[in-house]
Structure formats: C-alpha cells, structure tokens
C-alpha cells in the first residue's frame, strides 16, 4: 500500500502559529539582538533571526503529515531528520483541544495527543481546521479503549457531571490567589526590567502622594494610619477583583461531562480548551478545602493522570471540580469510583507524638524570629514573635486530631490539615512503589513515614504519604501493600 495514501496535512495557516510560538520562545534573544544591535551596523540581525524562524516554521508545515488508521495515528515529519511515529489509540491517556482567541479568529484549533509519561505530548498538531480537529478528537474518544466493546452505549449522549454557573465562577475567583500570583509575577518582571532606583522612586512617590494627601487633610499620625489601612484594604479588594476576573476568563463555561467511561472537561472565555481522558486513567485524587473555601461551603477536586505531569498548565486534565459543594464533590467521587467507599466513615489515627511534632517547624520559626528580632533591634519588642507559639501549638493539636489514613481492598486515603485541609487518595492498583522512611526523630518516637508513589503525581499536590505512623503499624502496612501490589497487575 502506498504510504502516502490517506495522509493529511495541517491547516495551511499553521506555519503562522508555529512561528508565533517560536517567537514567544525566542523573544528574549531577539530583544537582546534588537537592543544590542541598536546604533550598530548589524541591525539586520533580528530580521535575519525572524527570517530563519519563518523558514523553519514553513518547513515544519510542509513536512508534517498525519494519517488516521484503524488503530492509531501515524505522523511523519521532518525534512533532513525524518521521523515516523505510530500512536495507537489504546495508548492515549489524554486528548486536548486548545483554541486561543487567534485560533478562533482563523477557525482552527490545536490538538494534543498524550500518552503516559514523558515531558512532551506524543503528538502536537499545531494547527488543524476546527472540523478536522473535532473529528480527530471524536475519533480518539470513540476508539480509545473499551469503546469498541460497547457499541450499544455509543449513542448515549454526554452526561454532564458538573458545570459552573456564573456565581460559582465568582466564588472560585474569591477563594483563589490568582490575582496575587499575577501581581507578584508582574512586579518581578517590572523589577527586573526597571532599574532599582527608578522602581524605588516610583513606589516612594506613590506612597508620598497618598500619605501627603492624608496629611494635608488632617495632619498628624491617625490620618496616615487610616490612609495606610485604607491602602491595604484597597489593595486586597483590587487583588480579589483581579482574581475574579481571571477566574472568569479561565473557567467561564466550565463543564465536566462523561460519555462512554470517558471524562471531558471544557472551559475558557477567550481561550477555549477541552481535554478528555478515560475514567480508568485517573491515577490519584486530591480533594482540598482551604479556610476560605470552607467559609463559603465549597471544596475543590483534582486528579492526576499519567499524561505529561509537567505539562498540566497546557491543558492536560487536572481539575474535575475547581469549586463545588462538599456534597457535590463526594457524589462525583462516588460516581467515578463506585467500588470504593467514600466518604470514609472512620479514619485511623496517627501516633500521639504527631501533635508536638507537627508544631516543631512553626515553633522553630517563632523562636528564630524572636532571637533575630531581639538581636536586631536590641529591645524586648522582639518577644512579640513568641505570640506565634500558642497558635502553632493549637493548630498542630487540631491538625493531629484530624489527620489520619484509611485503607481497604480498593483504596488508600490520607487526610491532613486543619486550617487548610486536604484528602489525598488513590486506588491500590495505581500505586507504583513504596518507601518506608525514618528520621532520627521517628526513631526516638517509634514512628515511621510511609510514602506511596503514583504515576503522574503533581509536584504541587500534597504527597500521598502517611506520616507519624507507629512503627509496627507502618511495617505491617508496608509489607501488606508490597505483597498486594506484587500479585495485582498494573492497570493504568
């Protein structure tokens, strides 16, 4: 058979998007070229650089072909260095469709096919015509895994498991620190780009302006205190508003749906993205409840998939429920893990030594701060930092009371935190390796920490580990899990 038969190309405009992507990557060197070459006779360098990028993106477009076979996708690419890549549908863990504002303007979309492991996706089609992208996505969603065996269910429509109305998106913005993160990032960039003196002067003049205004009104320190308080409140309000706006942009139209054992998440106001993954590819779960979320009566539920753990921000499915009521989260878990018992009625407690050991980091910081403050200012006011001690003690007591773990034939779950809480759990079949570790303190207290490793664990998610376990219990658990994993086949 002719290998070229049935081969397709990307969208003719795709070189433009590849070029934009490359420009984004090379923006720093290009800017350096522009500024370094200014006033020099070599001012053509940036143009040459851009020209090279244009040629490479054109070449990439001209040499990239893909063919959709019965069992998978075949991709041929490269000119001097050629490569052929076969991607079986059954190996795909995640399919992501990404449409930025520019993509939408051109009626195109970017498709990413991701299998387990690896930093880069198996295939990144930048870009396809929207209809072709949708068709490809649809094909992968239908052919992947068990779909073929369940032709009777093929006509079942998508069941919506969760969608976020506007009020929920606003709540999501209110509880998140997105605004703060963005402002911090912006400040970093500004402070890098601006000379220090200029930044300092700007800040000082702004402060002087505000305090000068307050001083002119009344004079004296109460007014400036009020001004300072007002400033803090205003900054907080602005940050929260920014958070809400960002949440609106990112999560507008959020919808989690399920069809044929496959979960699909779509979201976004300007940049639309949709990613879908088979239900059985979920590796581990994280349920979170920060203090703010608790006050609003909400939690968030996230999952790990084995597909590109490092590329989560690029659209790999992560958040099943960015914000939802505890009941909705529990119902979602029950629905997706029908054999596992959730929520757990009982949790096994940790060693009694957990209470004071959880307080150690906070106590150390507090004592260090006291020492430093007293030494620096040479006055007893530094002793104020000791006030942190009772709070640390109280919080760690509460934390130790709440923390616990539970294990049955299907699921292992860990519960931690008090002020900011989380539950982390995984099916036993998804565990990859175990580690029992004991620090010198563990050895003194007769305890151990059990680490359970899963595939695709997010670096920012709390680890799946049981701390402060009595040694005998930890060893028994370790031996039992080790044996259980060895006899069960890996399913991921």
């Amino acid at each position: 058979m002719n290998p070229a038969e049935g081969e397709r190309r990307l969208h003719p405009g795709s070189w433009l998007f590849v070029l934009l992507q490359q420009l984004k990557q090379f923006i720093v060197p290009l800017l350096v070229l522009v500024f370094a070459g200014r006033g020099d006779r070599n001012s053509l360098w940036p143009l040459i650089g851009v020209g090279v990028l244009v040629v490479t993106s054109m070449l990439q477009y001209l040499t990239y072909r893909y063919r959709i076979g019965a069992d998978g996708v075949t991709i041929r690419s490269g000119w001097l260095h050629r490569s052929v890549r076969e991607i079986p549908f059954a190996r795909l863990h995640n399919v992501a469709l990404h449409q930025s504002l520019l993509h939408r303007l051109f009626g195109v979309a970017e498709v990413r096919l991701e299998s387990a492991g690896g930093v880069r996706p198996e295939a990144q089609m930048r870009v396809l015509k929207l209809e072709e992208a949708l068709a490809l996505e649809d094909l992968v969603r239908h052919r992947g895994g068990e779909a073929a065996a369940r032709s009777d269910a093929a006509e079942a429509p998508d069941a919506v498991l969760l969608s976020l109305p506007a009020a929920e998106v606003v709540r999501l913005g209110l509880v998140s620190n997105r605004g703060m993160v963005v402002v911090a990032a912006a400040l970093t960039v500004v402070s890098q780009a601006m000379p220090d003196a200029l930044l300092g002067d700007t800040l000082r003049s702004v402060a002087a302006h505000i305090f000068g205004y307050a001083g002119a009104l009344h004079g004296g320190s109460p007014a400036s205190l009020v001004a300072a308080l007002g400033l803090v409140v205003a900054v907080l309000v602005v940050l929260r508003l920014l958070s809400v706006a960002l949440a609106w942009v990112q999560y507008h139209g959020f919808r989690l749906s399920e069809a044929r054992q496959r979960l699909t998440v779509e979201r976004g106001l300007l940049t639309r993205s949709r990613s879908s993954t088979p239900r059985r590819r979920i590796q581990a779960w994280t349920l979170r409840e920060t203090a703010l979320q608790r006050w609003l009566g909400r939690r968030s539920l996230a999952i790990d998939t084995a597909a590109s753990p490092f590329a989560q921000e690029r659209g790999t499915m992560k958040e099943l429920a960015p914000i939802a009521t505890p009941q909705a989260c529990d119902a979602l878990i029950q629905h997706l893990l029908p054999q596992a018992q959730w929520p757990r009625p009982t949790w096994r407690p940790l060693s009694p030594s957990a209470a004071w050991r959880l307080a150690l980091p906070g106590a150390t910081v507090s004592l260090l701060a006291t020492g430093l403050a007293c030494a620096w200012w040479g006055s007893a006011w530094g002793l104020l930092a000791l006030l942190w001690l009772p709070w640390t003690w109280f919080a760690s007591r509460r934390h130790a009371c709440r923390a616990g773990y539970d294990l049955d034939e299907r699921l292992v779950a860990v519960r931690e935190g008090w002020w900011s809480r989380h539950w982390r759990f995984a099916e036993l079949d998804k565990l990859q390796a175990l580690r029992l570790s004991r620090s010198p303190l563990d050895q003194r207290c007769g305890t151990a920490t059990l680490w359970l490793d899963t595939a695709g664990a997010d670096a920012f998610a709390p680890p799946l580990r049981i701390r402060f376990l009595p040694l005998a219990e930890a060893q028994a658990l370790y031996a039992r899990l080790g044996h259980l994993l060895a006899v069960r086949a890996l399913r991921w």
Partner: protein, 173 residues
C-alpha cells in the same frame, strides 16, 4: 500464587545463596562509593572557604585547600559508612533496598510495577567487577530506584528476575 510464578520463572538455581536474605554490597566497592562524596565535600568546602577569604581579604588563603582536604576525608568516610549500610533483598514480591542509619529508608518496588531495568558499568566499576542496577517505575518520586556497587553476577540475576514480567493485558502500558 505469586511465589510459584516467580520461582518457576527462575529455572536455574540462583547464584546467590538464599535470595530471601538481606544482602550487603561487596566490600570492594566501598572505595568507589567514597569518591563521589569526597569530591563533592572537598570541592564545595574549598570553594566556600576560598570565596569567603577572598571576599573578606583575610590573610591565610592556604586554609581553603587544607579545609577542602579535611572535608574530602570526612566525605569519603561518609560514603564508606553509607555504602556499608546498604542492604538489598529480592523476594517473591519484588526488590527491596534499605539504606541509612540516621535517616533510614526502605524502598520496595513490586515486581509487577517494574517498567524497565538498566544495568550500568562504568570503567571503574568494570575494573572491580561491579555494576549499577537502576529499576524504573512509572512513579514520580520513586521513578528510578538505583543500587550502585552490586556484584556483577548479582546485578545480572536481579535484572533477569525483575525484567521478566508476567504477561499483562495489552493496555497496561
């Protein structure tokens, strides 16, 4: 059921006496294990001391190489002790590795979770008839469990036993 599968998989009697025991690494690898920490500690100490003396312009720059040598000796000692503390064990469930005295860890890779196994032999290791075994899993924190300074025969045995997996369903990987 599992003991049977693995025992039947290993047809010849294993070269190591009883695979169920915790086994130490061969003592001849201790010097090799000392090199890494010695070089790291020595160089770091030398750089830090040298930098401090140069920055403060204190006399007595000769202390830096001296401190480096002392630190290298200490580092070598640490390497040897750590090497002596390593124990490994292959049983029907998989590979287990124990390390450390102050910070003790025991890592277990079940045989069903082994993705692939690497055997590495550098020139120094070859001279001493040693090998490094790296067991890869699909995990993140324990993505690669490595055991350096194994006897070559043991390493090959481990590789063969760990790499031989029960036939699993197609979609496991």
């Amino acid at each position: 059921m599992t003991p049977a599968t693995l025992e039947s998989a290993a047809e010849p009697t294993p070269p190591c006496a009883t695979p169920m025991d915790w086994r130490a690494l061969p003592a001849r690898g201790a010097r090799l294990a000392a090199i890494g920490p010695a070089v790291t500690c020595g160089l770091l100490t030398m750089l830090v001391l040298g930098g401090a003396f140069l920055a403060t312009r204190w006399p007595g720059l000769w202390i830096a190489p001296l401190g480096g040598i002392v630190a290298a000796v200490a580092g070598a000692r640490i390497g040897v002790v750590r090497h002596r503390r390593v124990r490994w064990r292959l049983d029907e469930d998989g590979l287990a590795v124990r390390r450390g005295r102050w910070w003790q860890t025991e890592t277990r890779v079940p045989v069903s979770r082994v993705q692939h196994v690497d055997l590495r032999r550098g020139p120094l290791e070859r001279a001493l008839d040693l090998a490094t075994l790296v067991v890869h899993t699909a995990g993140v924190k324990l993505a690669a469990v490595s055991l350096a300074g194994l006897d070559s025969t043991d390493a090959e045995l481990l590789r063969d036993r760990l790499a031989r997996r029960q036939p699993v369903d197609d979609d496991a990987l």
